[in-house]
Subunit: 345 residues, 2 copies
DNA sequence: TTCGCCAACCAAAGCGCTTTGGAACGGGAG
DNA sequence: CTCCCGTTCCAAAGCGCTTTGGTTGGCGAA
């Protein structure tokens, strides 16, 4: 059943049917009701491709998910991020187009996406400190919103980010207040902007309180359980045994906890852990009482915000070039059972 | 730059340019070369929407991701599954269209997808034992492949599934051989087909060896770390303390491990754990030496297989209705450090 | 010389929708 | 009674591609 068939059934022209269904004023209310009723009865749904071709709008948002070729890892936060963004798209009638791409092919894919015109805008995931995709998209004139920021990018762009610096600053201060001095940082890959900022917050807090940072107590890599375990094992075997760990991910924190178990150390008494918690649906930090003391910021919520921002930009963009805007989310520190005073304090 | 412009530049008709670019034989090789060269120079890319409208093929595959409304959980395996499927789509020029839907809206969404004609087929995720979506899609005539199976579905359909029964049968036997008799099962939600089958394998193995199944040692629910922890704590506090756990997910296994730690029990000596491992990229079961003894089956690989199967069906479907086929994947049991003889054996 | 055939190209008709630019009709103002 | 305007509808021209059903010109066979 297409528009023409439906029009024939109603003894109306396709024009009128189209207008009736799309809420144009120049059709009488009684006709509109008739049309809507028939559309429902015949289960008519306009052909997406035709609509898109005619309007020139793709009604779809692109998510280009990079897959790191060394590690073959899909970032575990994507599922939740996309769940959040997807909610918003669904409400506005947009589709979500996903493309999984090896890191080095990203440029090509963005160009292709642009010239094939099958999305109206896109979300940039996992920006690095120096992020070539931002310049590229600006040049291509494709609306976009970055989930995160790119420190070395000077031009304007829209983004949604959490306050990584402040979160890790606060977490570090919290440990120092508990008497910890040898604090280890188990971070993500530090070319990634978020990891860079987290380290900054960590170092600034140490410096502000006159605590010497120890390079031997700073690790960075893919944030997995195994990473947490191995780094913790190595650090705890070293001469400058840390009394506390700050980790960038719940998974890493779980690895550190396993290492403590293996070494017979008690969490929260012998060694403390503070982690960042992305509040993933399948990886909750406990129920009522959090397991780990953590800075928490919902990735799903970030997904929703990115989507809303992008749709707004696209909407506005029809009239004029919209002003880039940023949204900075705070991550409160939530005290759980994994922290306590430094031993011997 | 569209087809017509390009044709004008070349002093050719759009027909010829289209045929040249799409590899039709009725255009001379010298002309084809000229066209291809110009296309490259002008960075011409056919408009996706127009192409789709003209050919009637959406060149996209739909993934409808249900989101359980009680638990608000996004299944953590989706990311890897989609990474696998996405690889295959990319190679064949298909897009991946994702829709996140609350459980109860699925019917509506499939119908909508169908009548909007914006995908050529779709993947059915997380089938239940009784799976209405299969009948629905068959009725709608939309090609589909199920990731998993639906025990109570009698009609034919295409699927890719792992041998859940055999995997859990084998894992259970392995524990029995080690002398364990009080074995706990921490399973997914058992209306889900995979969880049902896993339980079947477990019970069959117990029965075959004359071990009485204890309902108090069988739990089912969302497979999270917290689930593993709480169920294990409860069971270990009970009268019929298990000496071994069989879990459906690495996350649950990690929760069980935490419980053991809290109770001062040693993993692999006091209590054994066997888990199923989906081989997720961000949740590896250790590196060289696996942490947990586990049945392993790569979800990413399953994604690839589903995608290939679906594309093949779509390709064939142009000629005739293709025969449904199934692919059963075995999950080898990989011995790690989490299992040992039952205490006192 | 005529005819048929093949290689190489093209005009025009879709695909199913939106949108432009009317047309038809009725009612109120003059 | 005429004129004008607002309301309500419609025909037809796109959107950018594919595909059908040609046409044209050259060459070999009869």
């Amino acid at each position: 059943m297409n528009l023409k068939d439906l029009a024939d059934q109603l003894n109306l022209s396709p024009t009128t049917v189209s207008r009736a269904l799309n809420g144009y004023p120049e059709v009488s209310e009684v006709t509109r009701a008739r049309v809507e009723d028939a559309a429902r009865r015949y289960n008519y749904r306009p052909n997406t491709q035709a609509k898109r071709l005619a309007t020139g709008r793709a009604m779809a948002i692109g998510h280009v998910i990079p897959i790191s070729t060394q590690h073959e890892i899909v970032n575990p936060v994507f599922a939740d991020f996309i769940a959040g963004a997807g909610e918003v798209y669904a409400r506005s009638g947009y589709d979500l187009l996903m493309t999984i791409v090896p890191d080095e092919d990203q440029d090509r894919i963005y160009r292709e996406i642009r010239s094939k015109r099958n999305v109206d805008g896109c979300i940039v995931h996992s920006p690095k400190m120096a992020e070539p995709r931002i310049g590229l998209l600006r040049e291509l004139g494709l609306p976009f919103v970055v989930h995160g920021r790119a420190t070395l990018e000077t031009g304007p762009y829209s983004w949604v980010d959490m306050n990584n610096i402040r979160a890790f600053h606060r977490a570090t201060e919290f440990l120092i207040d508990l008497g910890h001095r040898r604090i280890a940082l188990i971070n993500g890959i530090e070319t990634m902007d978020f990891a860079h900022r987290r380290r900054l917050g960590f170092e600034q807090a140490l410096a502000a309180r006159g605590v010497q940072a120890d390079p031997g107590l700073m690790a960075s890599g893919e944030m997995t359980e195994a990473q947490g375990y191995h780094e913790a094992m190595a650090m705890l075997a070293g001469p400058q045994r840390p009394t506390a760990f700050l980790t960038s991910s719940l998974l890493s924190a779980m690895g550190v906890r396993r290492a403590l178990g293996d070494l017979g150390l008690v969490l929260g008494r012998d060694v403390s852990i503070v982690t960042h918690d992305d509040d993933l649906s399948y990886l909750r930090n406990g129920g009522d009482e959090p397991i780990f003391t953590a800075t928490r910021s919902s990735v799903r919520d970030a997904g929703r915000r990115c989507a809303r921002l992008l749709l707004r930009q696209i909407e506005l963009g029809k009239a004029a070039v919209p002003k880039p805007v940023g949204e900075l989310l705070e991550a409160p520190l939530i005290v759980g059972a994994s922290t306590g005073p430094a031993p011997g304090v």
